[in-house]
Symmetry: C2
Subunit: 314 residues, 2 copies
Amino acid sequence: MRYGFGIDVGGTTVKLAFFNEEGNLLNKWEIPTVTKNGGEAILPDIAAAIQTHMEKVEVSRDQIIGVGIGVPGPVDEHGIVNRCVNLGWGVFNIQDALSELTGFPVKAGNDANMAALGEYWKGGGQGCDNMVFATLGTGVGGGIVLNGKIIHGVHGAGGEIGHMVLNKNETERCRCGKYGCVEQYCSATGIVRIGERTLQRTTTPSILREIFPLTCKDIFDASASGDALADEILEQVYDYLGEFLANICCAVDPAAIVLGGGVSKASMPLLDGAKRYFTKYIFHAASDVRFALASLGNDAGTYGAFKLALTEFG
Amino acid sequence: MRYGFGIDVGGTTVKLAFFNEEGNLLNKWEIPTVTKNGGEAILPDIAAAIQTHMEKVEVSRDQIIGVGIGVPGPVDEHGIVNRCVNLGWGVFNIQDALSELTGFPVKAGNDANMAALGEYWKGGGQGCDNMVFATLGTGVGGGIVLNGKIIHGVHGAGGEIGHMVLNKNETERCRCGKYGCVEQYCSATGIVRIGERTLQRTTTPSILREIFPLTCKDIFDASASGDALADEILEQVYDYLGEFLANICCAVDPAAIVLGGGVSKASMPLLDGAKRYFTKYIFHAASDVRFALASLGNDAGTYGAFKLALTEFG
């Protein structure tokens, strides 16, 4: 049996996981992400964690297929990281750097793309070689898997679907500097924003009027308990979701859409709502798309990172 | 030297071309598309034309790599045509059918996708393994090339970018049955529609007010001669173009965008206008995209069809 590592670098912690070649997650653990001094300790810390783990398991170095790593920023097909603002990193080849530190072959990708690959391999998208993954969290990220491979993109920006434009007339600015991005309507933050706007615009009674600060979960909970204004808020969200997912599907025509991230905890109402508007906006020939929830939670990124290494070196 | 055929089936004529394996177009000709009786004569007519050509050239049958064919409708990866309304065709495997008639291996794809592949191989997208092609004609079609291969899509609807939704508030219906598709704003017909709406909405003097019926070319010509209202019309078009192209690029992050079809005869003003708004709407990491004009004209489809066969059988 052969083995490998999947690593998911976040702004506060680095998730590490040890897999066998069949994709069984054998061990997982976390270390803090030390971002001071331009994040110079991050890769040495990861290499040390890998080394410590190698000393604990009865696996020889030549049984290791390689290391996959996902990072919060664009990574091109050669492994060049193009600034990870949250980590303090500039521009460098992370594959070469981590390979030198560990002695193992390394393949790198964007974190949302790695999560997409993980969900395709072992999660909600299993069996669908062509799949769109959208992660609805604080922001909106995503990844597109075609013929079983992730679309990294020429600049490492493949699957940056959170910054597709949904509303040119938006007056507030997105974190990215543009106006009217998907993220401003379909992230947890975006849903709350739509909620607050709707509360201001209307006088309909609602339990949401008594909640400070309002959260995305409050809105879904209120809807589940029959609050009409919460429904009105969520209809707007589903409409935006259905529209942008349909637009992606017109371009790449996948078999499945998998929704993940904190917002996806809303589960079936979210899937049903998004699918209802998707059906309205999708081109008829591409309309037969399976909607599914992500199932790997916070492990999706490490699964995908290892899968990337497995595909490259396995 | 080996050879092959590229075929582009249209609603009124079938374009045929004979290539050598280096992609030099050696001969090209057309035959009528006979659509009566459910288009039953179309494939036999093509097979007869290929046979006649084989008798004229000094090439033996075993020097033929294969036949590529593009058709006006969805074709899945196995060669299943899923209704070509313009041809009268239902659902069948066109690869098997034409292969039986010709004795050559056959690979099929959607016509706009074949044009995209042609422009990638020998046209405006040469050298860009990751490319988005949009053909702005009576309608809007397109194709997406990633890693040198066309994205057919699971239902053969890959690259159907003309039916992405641009304006949910549109009150007129698109040919596809939906409202607010790209095609309603960025096709020649769509540009004239925006023109007529703008003429009605404003009282600005314009030479366009004296032209009946108004054409897309009239609007570009008027803009070139300094007509302010024509500029106002085209700004709206460029804005729509820039938005939908940016949205595709957020998803697949290509190196180049190639514009073809009748509207692209407007040339540099069209490219410059589209790029201006694209820059406004694109996610920063994916913004370095080359804009180019298609260069193969009506031959793009046969080039791409042959390239498809060459990749499959060559």
